[in-house]
């Protein structure tokens, strides 16, 4: 699970608990200018091939965490519970998008949308 917050002009994604180990990341900081949008998207998890783990762990139905490469893009994953998945699309960042589980997808989407449109 990830904790998402806004700190000034930065979107902060904190990876919680043991997921830090699986994802090999504890914190991502993205300038809001590079955040294109956020979408609650449970369906992305059950989807097809997520890409090559590089590095990461993918046990379907249990956990998808880490960096995955697909279509020449790097995607960061940290999801156990598909129902609470949010997709954050980025521009000009190491990751093309972040696919993370959050406590309240609707609130997270609203937070990101508000932060990226009020600038």
């Amino acid at each position: 699970m990830a904790q998402i917050s806004i700190d000034g002009d930065t979107l902060v994604v904190e990876i919680e608990g043991l997921d830090k180990l699986w994802a090999l990341k504890s914190r991502l900081a993205i300038p809001l200018a590079n955040v294109r949008g956020a979408t609650a998207d449970p369906g992305i998890v059950s989807g097809f091939f997520k890409g090559l783990r590089a590095p990461g762990v993918n046990i379907p139905g249990v956990i998808t965490a880490g960096t995955f490469r697909l279509d020449g893009e790097k995607v960061f994953w940290d999801v156990h519970d598909a129902a609470r998945t949010v997709v954050i699309e980025l521009a000009d960042e190491r990751y093309a998008r972040l696919v993370v589980e959050v406590a309240d997808p609707r609130a997270t989407v609203a937070l990101v949308e508000q932060a990226t449109t009020s600038r």
Partner: protein, 200 residues
């Protein structure tokens, strides 16, 4: 930014506008969009950034291709009865007006950019309705908070009537969506126009 696309963006936006005109924004998942539009999820994210990004592109497209021509036709309708007939009686207008209606009800209150996008469109609709009703005032809108002369009061009155006419058009579309047949809606518009012009 290089974005390889295996699809026609304009076609996808048009299909999305159709989908968003039939179902609520929150009721449409990315799965629905992927299925309905026939485009890979990754491509949708890459091109539009988010569901909201796609929605905004669809709304923009619909306002430009459905609503703007409709506003022109309402303005050129000649009289109020014809204007209401044009606005609510033509099946071709349904998708655009439905999306506008849903955007006003559902998205504008929670999405400032949508509200900002809709405000000038609704104002243009008001202006067209006023023109059609034969109450056109070339001086345009007056700034709020000023002392009003009788002429300004009359203009305010015209603004208010135009505002109510646009609300009527959207309201008739709402009734049509609630299951009232197209003919009844058209008749209702004609009856109202008749009443208004009989008792100016």
């Amino acid at each position: 930014m290089g974005r390889p696309r295996g699809f026609d963006e304009a076609t996808v936006i048009r299909s999305a506008a159709e989908l968003f005109s039939t179902r609520s924004y929150d009721g449409i998942s990315m799965d629905d969009l992927v299925t309905h539009l026939g485009v890979h999820r990754n491509s949708l994210y890459k091109t539009f950034g988010s569901k909201r990004g796609l929605y905004q592109a669809a709304l923009r497209w619909s306002l430009e291709h459905h609503i703007a021509p409709l506003i022109d036709r309402v303005a050129g309708a000649g009289d109020l009865a014809q204007a209401l007939h044009v606005a609510v009686g033509e099946p071709a207008e349904e998708a655009g007006l439905n999306l506008l209606l849903m955007a006003v009800v559902e998205r504008a209150p929670v999405d400032r950019e949508v509200a900002d996008q809709l405000a000038p469109v609704l104002a243009a609709f008001d202006q067209a309705a006023r023109t059609a009703a034969g109450q056109h005032s070339p001086a345009g809108q007056h700034p709020p908070g000023e002392q009003h002369s009788p002429a300004e009061n009359a203009r305010q009155d015209e603004d208010d009537v135009a505002f109510a006419l646009t609300a009527t058009i959207l309201g008739l579309r709402l009734r049509a969506r609630a299951g009232t047949s197209g003919t009844n809606v058209d008749q209702a518009g004609a009856a109202l126009a008749h009443r208004l012009t009989r008792h100016p």
